[in-house]
Every structure is written in C-alpha cells, then in structure tokens.
C-alpha cells in the first residue's frame, strides 16, 4: 500500500510510522492501543487503572531507564521536558503539525506531543540529547549552518537522523519528504538537506556517538 504523497522513488519504511500510529489510534477503541499493539501479542490484558492524579512510570530514554511521574493525559513531550528536563524536544504547536518535538521511538520518528507518556513505556526512546558534539550529523549541521534561531533544529536533527538511518544515501526528494513534518520559520531547509547529504557522504554513522 502506498500513500499518495510518498515519493515514487522512496522505499516504504518498516515498523510503525506517524501515519500508521495515527490510523491505529483512530481505529482502536482500547486505550493506548496505537503503539503497544504494534509490538505485543493480541492476548487479553489484565485491566489496570490509573489516575486521576499522578503515578510513576519507567521510560527507557537514550538507553537509560528513567522514572517519571505522569498523569494518564500527560504527553511524552511533557514527560520528557517537564519530568526529565530533556528540553531538546521543543513544544511549538503541541498538535503534531510542526515536528519540533520529534523523537525516535524504536527508531521511528514520532511527534512526542501526540503520544501519551504511558504509551511510550516499554519502548526504546531516543532524543536529541543522545547526540554529542562529535556526532557527524551534529557536526554537519554546524558546518552547513543548518540552523538560525535553532528552535526547530533538535526536531530537524532527529528527522534527519531517521532519514539517514532508513535510507543511507537519501535523494533530495527523499530528504524533502522525510523533513516535510518539520517546520522552520527561519528557512533552513536547504542547509538541513546539505547537512544530511554531507553526513551521508562522510560514511560515519550518525546518532551513535554518545551525548548525554
């Protein structure tokens, strides 16, 4: 199945995408089914009750288990920013339309403002804080001046990372497609693509060099 706006020359991504997440959550009436259903067997689950009020959950962020207090309605973005002080992911639209809060969940880009923190339990989360200054992608962003005010940049970096991880040597069309969920008001798109291209050409793997 090919969505109408997929680039003709691009392979479909594996796993869940933002699109399948949205479809999943729209179709499912079971709370929190969207992502969990993608990886867990469809066995009946023991009913659990949370809220009102806060409770503690464990999130696996950048390879570390972190405890954070959330309400059932707390988004992953708020849990990261307000609960764990991981403020790289930005809150810009809070409606899944700008990509400023992009993080990787099991290696796939997700708008963390559209995912409930509880739905992220049990998944590997990667945020921009995992990338250090020596990371080839970060180094390329700086070298190509792929940023101005910098507010969209962490989200751009994460979408760029996913683009590189999935495609290796992406074409311009593929890059534009993979960045199409990330808005930048300063107008850095061209230089972000140059940064992706430069990283791909360097042959060095991005997203592996340790940040925080």
């Amino acid at each position: 199945m090919t969505a109408p706006h997929d680039p003709p020359d691009g392979p479909r991504r594996s796993g869940f995408s933002r699109r399948s997440f949205l479809k999943g959550s729209a179709a499912a009436s079971v709370a929190g089914a969207g992502l969990v259903a993608a990886t867990e067997p469809l066995a009946p689950r023991k009913p659990e009750t949370y809220g009102p009020g806060e409770h503690e959950i464990k999130l696996r962020v950048n390879g570390q288990d972190r405890l954070v207090k959330v309400e059932t309605r707390t988004t992953l973005l708020d849990a990261l920013r307000d609960g764990l002080d991981l403020t790289g992911a930005k809150k810009i639209c809070d409606r899944g339309s700008c990509g400023g809060c992009t993080v990787l969940v099991e290696g796939e880009t997700v708008n963390s403002c559209l995912m409930l923190a509880m739905d992220a339990v049990g998944h590997d989360l990667q945020t921009v804080e995992s990338l250090g200054e020596n990371d080839p992608l970060i180094e390329s962003f700086v070298h190509c001046d792929a940023l101005q005010c910098g507010f969209c940049t962490p989200g751009m970096v994460m979408s760029s990372l996913a683009c590189l991880n999935h495609r290796g040597q992406p074409t311009k069309t593929q890059m534009a497609h993979d960045l199409s969920g990330n808005l930048c008001r300063c107008g850095t798109y061209g230089r972000v693509m140059e940064a992706i291209e430069r990283t791909a050409k360097s042959g060095k793997p991005a997203g592996k060099a340790g940040g925080r």
Binding site: T87, S97, C98, F141, V142, Q148, C149, F151, T153, Y189
Partner: protein, 748 residues
Amino acid sequence: MSSPREKVEITVGYRSLGGQPDRLEKRTVDPEAGDAPPWDANTKMQHVGGDHSRVDGFAKATGRAKYTFDVTFPGMLQAMILRSPVARGKLTGLELDDARKMPGIGAVIALKEIGSQVRFVGDAVAAVAGSNLNLVRDALEKIRAAYDAESHIVDYLQSPDAPLLASDGEIDAEWPAEPEIEAALAAGKTSHAATYRTEVQTHSSLESHGHVARWDGNDLEVWASTQATFGVRGELSRALQARGLDVGSVTVHAEFVGGGFGSKFGAGVEGLACCLLAREADAPVKLMLDRFEEHTTTGNRPSALMQARAALDEKGVFTAWDWRSFGGCGFNKSGGRVAFPEYYVGKAKTRNKHQDIAADTDPARSMRAPGHPQGFFGAELFLDELAAKAGIDPLELRLRNDDTVIRRDQWQFGAAQFGWQQGRAIQNDPKARYWRGVGLASARWFQLGNAGRPPHGITCRIHQDGTVESRSGAQDIGTGLKTVLTLLTAEELGIEPKLVKATTGHTGDPSGPGSGGSTTTPSLAPAVRHAAFLAKQQLVELAAKHLGVPVGEVTCGNGTVGKGTAQLPWAEACKLIGPNPIEARGQRFNNYREPPFHRGVCGAQFAEVQVDSWTGLVKVTRMLGIQDCGRVIAKKLAESQVLGAMIQGVSYAVHEQRIMDHASGRMLNGDFLRYKIAGSVDLPELRCIMHSIDNGHDNVGAAGLGEPPSVAAPAAIANAVFHAIGVPVRHLPLTPDKVLAAIAKRKA
C-alpha cells in the same frame, strides 16, 4: 566635539561582481577621538567575511541551548491566560474564586477590570498559575467571565472607512483631483492602472512569546523570549511600579531566542501577567503562549490594498507615479503603512497617499521589513504589467529607471547568473499542463546602525589564560550576534576565534539595541571592535613594558604581541595580565559625518515558477538573490539569512493568510495545520550571492541584513507567475483559486 579628530583616507565601494567595473572611491573620514581606525576595502581580513561556523551551533543542534521555554526551577508553576471569546464588547463579570480554591493552583489574577472594553478575540482577561498546565487548563474552565458583546468587523474591507471594490477587484473610487499629476500621466506614451491586495501574515515564530519570572524579595529576574532585553526590562519595571509594586532590581535574560521577526519587542500583557503571578504565588512562574495565542494575540503583518497608476514616456522612463494604499490594521488602527520602490520614479511626478483602516482584531506589529513585501509586491508587479504594455523587457524597464548604481550592477550580474534572457524566452504550450515563467524584483533597506542614546556598549575582557570575553546585553535572535562578536574580536586582536567567548542577552551587560529594522549588527559591530581595540592597547602596554620597547612600536596580530623579532606569543603575553582581567568598555560612536558610499543596502532577486494550469498550484522552482549588507562579517550566517528570507518570501507569496470567521471574529486557521508556512517540499533551488560593500560609515562598515532580503521575493514570484500564465494575479497569496480564475480570465 572638543577632542581633536584625525582625518583618515580610506577606500570605499566594492570590487566588480563580474562584468562591471570596480566601484572604488577614495574618501576622507574623521573618526571621533579614541575610536578604532576604520577598516576599508583594502584591509586584509583573517576572519571577518570568512567561512566560520556559527559559534552557538553545537549548543543549538544538540538541544543543550536553553531557551526561555526550556528554563525551569524547582517549585516553578506554569501559567496560562484566559482570553476573550468576543471580538468587541464589555467585560461585565469575572469570578475567580472557584479557580483559586483548586488544589495545585498557586495564583489567579484579573488582567481586565469589570466594565472595561474587550477589543478582540484573544484579549487577555485573567491569568492562572498552577503546578502543571493540565491543572491550569482545568482552572481556566472554572473562571466565569461575562461579556456584553457588541457588533464587530474583523475584515477591514467591510469597514465604513474602506474604499469600495468593484467586481473586478479594482478600487472603485475617484483619484483625488490634482492637475499636475493628471498632466504628468497624460504626458506619457504608455499608461496603466491597477489594484493589488495582500492578506494578513502572522509572524509564526516557533518559540512563542513568553517569560519565566522569579522574585527574590523585591528583586525580579525574568527570562524572556524577546528581541529587546532592555526594552522588556524597562517595560516591566514601569508596569509593575504603576501597579504599586515595590520593585528593586529587574534583570532580563534572553540567551537563546526562538525567532521573533518583529513581534517580540515588549514584555506585553503576558510578561506582566507572569511577573504578577510569580509575586502572588511566591514561586517562579513560566508563562508561554500556545500556538493559537501566538497567531492571534502577538501581532501580524497587516493586509494591504494598493492602487497604482503611472505612465512611461517613449524612452520607457516614468513621467508619473500615482499611488494610494490602505492598511488593514487591528483595533488600534496603526501599522499598516506600505512602502514602494521610489528609486524607479525619482524623476517622475509622484504622489503617495496612505490610510490605515481599523478592524476588531489584535494590533499589527512590525514584521520583517514592515510595509515592504506587500508594497513591493504591488509596485513590482505593476511595473511588469506596464513593461508588457510598453513592450519592454522587465529587466530593461528597471535598468532604464533604477537610479542606484549598486543595484544596476546587481541587476546585470544577477540576470547573467540566473539566465534571465533564456528564462524570458520560454514559450509555454497553451495545451501543456505545466507553464513556466521567470520574474524579478528589487530590494532596499536603509539601516547603517546608530550610536544609541546613551551609546551602546560592549565589554571586552582578556584573561590571564589567554581567553577573551566579548559581552553584549543585547540579544541574538538567530541572526548570529554571538558569532559577530567572536569574529570581530578575534580579528581586532589577531587571535583564533576559538579563544573568544561571546555572551549575549543579559541586561547585566552593556546595553544594545532591540533587534529590529536590521539594526543590531551595524549598531554593535563598531563597539565590539572598539572594545577589543581598547583591551588590546592595555595588553600592548604590558608587553611593551616587559619587552622594554616603546609602546607605540608594539603591534598585536597573527597570534603574537611585540616589536620586530621581540615577539611574545599571545598566550605568553596574556600571562603578563594579573589575576584581574584586562577589561575595556567599547562604545558605539556616531556614524562618520562624511556621507557613506551608499546610505543603505540594495538587493535584487530572480524567481522561476512552474504553474500547474489544471490545478492552479504554483511551485517556485528556482531563485537567485543578490544582496549587499555593507561589510559581510560572517559569510555563512549572512547567506543563511538571505536564503531563509527567500523561503519566507515563497511562503508569503503562495501560502500564508490569516482567515477570520466574520461571525465570531475568531481566526479560523490559528494553528500550523491550516495556517500553512513553507515546508521542505516547497523549497526551490536557492542560491544567494553576498555582495560585500565597504561603506565607510564607521570603523567596521556593516549594514543591516535582517529585513532587506525579505523585500523582493514575493514580488519576484508574482512576476514569474504573470510571465508563466500571461495574466497578473494581483492578490497574494497566489493560491490555486486565484491562479485558476486568472487563467480562466485569459481564456475568456
């Protein structure tokens, strides 16, 4: 001016872009006593103008940079504002107690008195701070506000002050009688008249407006997403004292700012609310606007309605230029003025009338080159229509009328680089689906910086360990002030930029201008140099004493300090400094009294579009921008600003418009799903060429770059669409409905 001034001869102007001669001139200037000697066109630079990277790029790209939105403190509360749902009326009731009683709510304050006027949907009524935003949202629902709504108008064209529009979109009103202009129009061989429109554009900064406020007794510390740290400081201090608060010190921080584009010069009601909530709750408070508030309460580029009529003589030179414009403003009826490129009509009889029209919406604010993208769209498209009538190539018409030497060179160079002639030779098959076209437009701005009152300053410190600090209390909103401080300081001291640490955005440091009107770099660059120059003199004195040579013979450069063979490496020289660093405060002197090479900056942009004649979709495929900004300091950063402005221009030309619901007075597309800004798939093949010019107006010669590159792009794109489809679309944005209607009109 009691101190003696020394006259200095310098070379100003620029070397050929290619194809035209060098434009270099000798000029004698007289810098104020104590200022650093001027750089000129013959100064050899180590760092300035080079390909250095943005110094805070790593902090931003790794997410470590802490913007106001990211600042947090233990016990900090979050806050939101209750907004008016009516566009016009009176607040008749406000019950806050139920919200106050909620657990987790720290403070609830009224921002409007009962009986006062409500001016637009989104006008601030009350504010709540609580332990998290979910709770605060719950609390806002417990506030009971009542209004006496009055009838409103949110479309300025429906105002009784607005002129009537005929069904073809033309202003349906007589031009005011003036025999001279009528005579000049009649004297021309070719004449034309047409009406143009633009819609409201929101700034859409990605970091919304907002603050974090923390009181320590009567001392207030504020983190602000702002373009004017000192402006916010002054406004808050005044507003809090006006409310009877005993205010000690007020310190503002804005180390990183997520965009502003002209909307962030004041603390606003949200800043005041944040400080008042923090005082009442006795806890730090963060209040950041959400996206709907950002779209609807923080200003915008107002819409414009413009009508031009003009005539050309047999040589294609203007004999008359008659222009009237109307600005579609907010309730305060201000800020809608538009600008047009008057350098085309310098010899013609001209007239220019403007009228602002109020509507019941939030007030307009300055937005990147206020008045220019809208006015230049109208005027430059008008020029192309007139050129078509007269049978003159659009580039030729501009060359015949543009009286600016710099831009004439830019036109000719740009046309060759872009392939203008080939582009204009495109013959579109009327039966084909896709039609191509090319267009061009001009840009200008006037900013060469100013001294400030009292003068702006910069602190430069040289430490014993060889590191250097350059500090400004002004803010870097993404335009690269930190990089500018770093490169200028390194250049003046003759050291590597990595030894310099630039700090911006704390009001504890010397004052600088608000970042508006392209003022920051030209206003601060000479002070940065002056600070480094003064610090260098102190180091030179230490080195001279140590080396036993006369001070006047010691130089500092290429990483060493000394005379002849007696040289100390920079690190060794700095060891002569005691535990207290060398500290100098540089000053921004007035611009030289002699006229600069050019009083402002010039630019020219070219665009190529592809129009889908079936769907009406405009795709901008290629753009070229030639832009000067006086002396280029950080080349990569300057290019980024120009490229970014071109993309913003694409966005304004084909996507952006605020859509209001006339019945409720509410913005219908106050988000990023329906208010569309250009994304990665809209990106044309972009190229920009920085045109570095030595203006000779101060010791650096930088000119403003924020506004100028955003002036021409929408006009160039509109002209390219006119070329592609053969009829002008006189109403931005160039959405498919308008393009299809224009194509249908041509077929009819």
